[in-house]
């Protein structure tokens, strides 16, 4: 592992000291990573680059960062809706499903449902 890589790997990031191309790169990577069933990554992307994309003074890469942040937000919203519906359905109907409910369950609460 070369020295710069050693320093970059796992470096705690403070966005102010990062050049714009790297910011764009990071934003893009986080956006692409979120497609691996990782809405949390999209959430982090939105929160982290929100200030850069919308509140910072304009620079060349900003429109692209803005688009990535917006797309991440859309994806995040989608997953939130999906998860909320599924959890609601599961929690309310679990007892009624009988065997399927038990099979799907990781923890089964004690007591009367």
């Amino acid at each position: 592992m070369t020295e710069p890589a050693a320093r970059a790997a796992g470096a705690a990031m403070n966005l102010e000291r990062v050049p714009n191309e790297e910011k764009l790169n990071l934003c893009r990577k986080y956006y692409l990573g979120g497609f691996a069933l990782l809405p949390f990554l999209w959430l982090v992307n939105v929160l982290w680059f929100c200030r850069e994309a919308f509140l910072a003074p304009a620079y060349t890469e900003q429109p692209q960062i803005k688009s990535y942040v917006q797309r991440s937000a859309v994806g995040l919203l989608f997953w939130v809706v999906v998860l909320t519906t599924w959890v609601t359905i599961f929690q309310t109907h679990r007892a009624r499903w009988g065997e399927l409910g038990d099979y799907l369950s990781f923890t089964i609460p004690l007591g009367i449902p």
Binding site: A6, A8, M13, E16, R17, F40, F106, T107
Partner: protein, 459 residues
Amino acid sequence: MMITFMNSSDSEEEACNERTSLISVESPPAASYQDGLQAPEAAETQTYRKRHTGGSCSPSDADSGNSDSGLPVRDIAVDNKEEELTLKYGAKHVIMLFVPVTLCMIVVVATIKSVRFYTEKNGQLIYTPFSEDTPSVGQRLLNSVLNTIIMISVIIVMTVFLVVLYKYRCYKFIHGWLILSSLMLLFLFTYIYLGEVLKTYNVAMDYLTLFFVIWNFGAVGMICIHWKGPLHLQQAYLIMISALMALVFIKYLPEWSAWVILGAISIYDLIAVLCPRGPLRMLVETAQERNEPIFPALIYSSAMVWTVGMAKQDAASRGLTQQTWDSAEDVRDIHDNPAYVESEISEARSPAPTHPTTSLLEELEEEERGVKLGLGDFIFYSVLVGKAAATASGDWNTTLACFVAILIGLCLTLLLLAVFKKALPALPISITFGLVFYFSTDNLVRPFMDTLASHQLYI
């Protein structure tokens, strides 16, 4: 890293030993005194950034450049400023480390108090093979000492192994090892933890949601810790994995062994960091020689960004440095000292091109400073407080006493760090205080308070 399975199904362990007993690191000051120029780098605490001392002129140049005082007066002023800075940074760093240590302990204590799983005896680790269920006190003591010896030798072996690997630049192996162990922490231990918490609160959870949640948590954790991510998220993940590891230790270490191990490991920490041939010291020195950061998965860093003290407030200085950071080089601090700041204000208002020192300022950059604390320290602090919460007869008194003791110890350690400016072991002072407070509170204060309460005597 070894995974070993003992008698019961739940006992898994990881030799997390590469994380034990690392240190708060600070670099020596780069005090470059040139004629009439100052370099107030007294309290720089970020070891692993390249320092280019070529461009290291400070805004105080403006001050000294314009002052009429003679050179000796300026030198004395320099010394005083440096001491002030040192102590001020010491104080800031103490606060910066209080928060994560406190958070870690809160998580551990909250879990111990609510989730019964972590206080149930369910087998032991392979590293502590001697059981403590013996009839006689002497036998029990002997067993705990033997357990400690085995545990400490395992830790020593692992640490030496790590240092040897580092010295011979087997970075891939170390990286793989760290990734594997963080994977295990982030996925397996979180799975167990989540399962137990859900069982405690009697909540139903299906496999799909569970898989999803753990996958997200773990994957983002791996990205944040081993690659790049927002600082606060990385810090949060490090705190969480320290708490998880501490919980494992609390569950699987038998009573007396735990206390003896805590004592022994602080002694080991002292030796490993301060002795010239100590493995941890060699690790730090090698890293410093090669100008590399120690692996991120082992260290919590509370980085602050300090900007050039060229303006009166943070915002203004940040504005200035954002324009000029591109060609920047070195680290400077905000000088809160009002008298000092005013002279700088007058400098800042003078037209830039005509003033020589502002052009030097164009070449200055923000750099991170902060204190680094090893994850092993987090883990063992939390083990101490968690064990106090789990087993003490006095409910919250003992826990709080241990908590306060550890924080006091941390304060003292950081003070020493500010004074000595080199890597120091963070465990010994805190653990000693913690142990003293635990045993004295448990055995002296608690019965005292009980007797007072039963006699309705309030003091």
